[in-house]
Symmetry: C2
Subunit: 424 residues, 2 copies
């Protein structure tokens, strides 16, 4: 029983009146605050200012025996592959460098599965009658939407404290129409969960019925600790190889939340056979992604050690924002028992699970009060959260004082939603 349920009817009516008055006062301020997207703020963007002019002379453009300005090198600059390989714990030959969005590489792997099939596909997925895809939830809406946009049936797999419910995953992959799964293995979006080593090993040991079952391993937050030291993480690709399914995993990462979100570089990593197959199709599609931007990143980030040092500067900006969110939730919501949340140490989100039935109404009330949140339900396949409970808070973009205001509003809206529900 939460605090409001324990109240007498009269107490509750008084409380509703009080909270509604607070809400009305907030609306009257006509604020416009945004906690919707995991979008770095201006302070973070300014950290990479030196990258703007780091390449300033044509002589620098010759790297690895290649003129980065000119055509060529489908899979990217060897130096860029080396940088990502060290960060991900794979080999440079396992890397293909993409453009500003790893999402584009993920989409492309799925698109190629549809138009041409993957290495072990009996036929292109476009010729399959029905395809199912596993979606650990709460999860990342853009992931779910990629597979949905190709007409797949999305199957929800609950997220536990150490990753997706692997008992369920192991059961579901026995269905040959289940072709793959989305994963954000480190600081999962939105819960900030780090998959346990056991979970990672169970992924690698999967024996799916579909020969072309595909683990989409989006390591978006691989170096994105904002609290404490870098957490090493196992390499899914070599683990899959050890377990006899070397082509099962495709890993992705990017510098979107390291340098510039709108002008980063991305990487796809997989087995050498998958890479060779992917390149045999990509050669019809592109000469190479932007190699000058790869060069800028190589010179700016240098190597894994330097990248980790640099990420500490992001941590300095992000940490107080996360502390602010958690502090307001702990103060305003915890005593009432209206919601639960984790205390992530990396990634970009705080995931709030309200008591059932409050998420959509809280989101609506926030909107009325001028606070834009990720749409309730967005963290579930097809935008439908069966408990109407999960709300994703993205604290990175607002200034700290704005964030504090937005969080106060959020808490007021959540309280109001809870009181309305009890009074209905």
């Amino acid at each position: 029983m939460n605090a409001y349920e324990q109240m007498t009817k009269a107490e509750r009516e008084a409380e509703l009146k009080k909270v509604r008055a607070e809400f009305d006062a907030l609306c009257a301020k006509k604020l416009s605050l945004n906690m919707a997207r995991g979008k770095p703020g201006a302070h973070q963007l300014d950290l990479s200012t030196d990258m703007l002019t780091i390449v300033n002379d044509p002589a620098q453009c010759k790297i690895d025996g290649i003129d980065a300005r000119n055509y060529g090198e489908l899979a990217g600059l060897p130096s860029a592959k080396k940088l990502f390989a060290e960060i991900l714990g794979v080999t440079p030959e396992q890397c293909f460098i993409g453009g500003s969005a790893s999402l584009q590489l993920m989409y492309d792997v799925i698109a190629k599965a549809y138009t041409h099939g993957l290495r072990h596909s009996p036929k292109p997925w476009a010729r399959e009658d029905h395809i199912k895809w596993l979606c650990p939830a709460p999860g990342y809406d853009r992931h779910f939407n990629v597979t949905k946009s190709f007409g797949m049936e999305l199957i929800t797999v609950p997220m536990l404290d150490d990753g997706p419910d692997m008992d369920m995953v192991e059961k579901l992959v026995k269905d040959p129409t289940v072709k793959g799964i989305w994963c954000v293995p480190k600081y999962s979006n939105p819960e900030g969960v780090i998959y346990s080593e056991e979970t990672v090993r169970r992924f690698a040991a999967l024996k799916p019925a579909a020969p072309d079952f595909t683990i989409m391993w989006d390591n978006a937050y691989c170096v994105h600790e904002f609290e404490g030291e870098f957490v090493p993480f196992p390499d899914i690709i070599s683990l899959c190889a050890e377990q006899g399914r070397p082509d099962m995993a495709w890993e992705f990462a990017s510098t979107s939340k390291i340098t510039f979100p709108g002008a980063g570089i991305s990487v796809l990593a997989s087995s050498l056979d998958n890479l060779a197959y992917y390149k045999s199709l990509a050669t019809f599609q592109i000469i190479s992604y932007d190699k000058m931007n790869q060069l800028r990143h190589v010179l700016f980030l240098k190597d894994k050690a330097h990248t980790l040092d640099f990420m500490k500067k992001h941590a300095e900006v992000l940490r107080p924002r996360f502390h602010c969110v958690l502090e307001v939730l702990d103060r305003e919501i915890a005593p009432l028992g209206l919601a639960e949340w984790k205390h992530p140490k990396g990634g970009y989100f705080v995931s709030v699970n309200t008591i059932p039935g409050l998420a959509t109404r809280t989101w609506e009330l926030c909107k009325q009060a001028g606070v834009t949140m990720t749409k309730a339900g967005a963290t579930y396949p097809n935008g439908f959260d069966p408990n109407d409970s999960n709300i994703r808070i993205a604290p990175s973009f607002p200034e700290l004082d704005e964030l504090r205001q937005a969080m106060e509003i959020f808490c007021t809206c959540l309280k109001l939603a809870a009181l309305e529900q009890l009074s209905a």
Copy 2:
């Protein structure tokens, strides 16, 4: 009858001996020269050096009310759309800004036709039994290979002096399985032909049986004159609209041969309805292409007038290279009557048509002598030139003295191939 045919047998044997000795002497030099690809040379890349540091302050990154460093703006910076719109004679709203390769946008339109269908498609092309695609030839191998990689049947349409054979195109589009055509309307690759206004109007007036028949209008050389003034060119998109098929044409262009080939920006332009449809699918694929590079281009190229001025600097570099190619051909080959070629005023190629049966052998001999040329046949669908006659010369990359050497070798090889043929 060419000069060699007019010789007596004895004269020809003497000539063969002489030319073979020249060839052997050239081989002994163990040269390594490359005329294979339309790849700008170092002098051209150096023209854009100022672009490296043109964005050097975070304050510059706010443009059109957008922070170019951050996420957002799927279709690109409004300023970048405006720049391309002015160059192509379309509206900014008709433009979608891509990454470093317009090829990627072209591939993507075809890929989306396969996975989702285009606006007027009865069904996704992946569900069609058989698709045919028109390929004006000689043409661009990367175009042909895109459609081939999706399993289409490629139909050759001869290139005439004013564009593709439109009588044949008008006949072929009556077949509902013919879904589209590749076009390089200005300074066609490789012949440097500018489509006549009548040809462009006949394209716009096509009434294909396939409701989703698609004109892929690759305006790759839209501002790429190296001889004389800029040649204005009609806008295919508005012409198609006038003729009642507003969604028939997709136009493409890029800065690959204006700034940096490996780090340019590209554009897709089409009807507003096509753009809306494309964006409704692309929103699942990418947040936006690299906006910082769009910003650099906007600041560096400014507008159409400034871009045309800048292209004159490229012309200064390219013109002597084209003159060199034509001068050697005119001196060595014209008197013998072994081949014909055009005298283009823009674009990146000289297209040589030998008497039948000499292209492959000439290419092989060039290779032996250390000169890499575009593979014979590459300018035809499926890499098969029925006359074995067309050879594409790309003069941009080598230094002028290397180019002269390479052309002397090319002419020796062509002569040797002709003499071998007559002696066989």
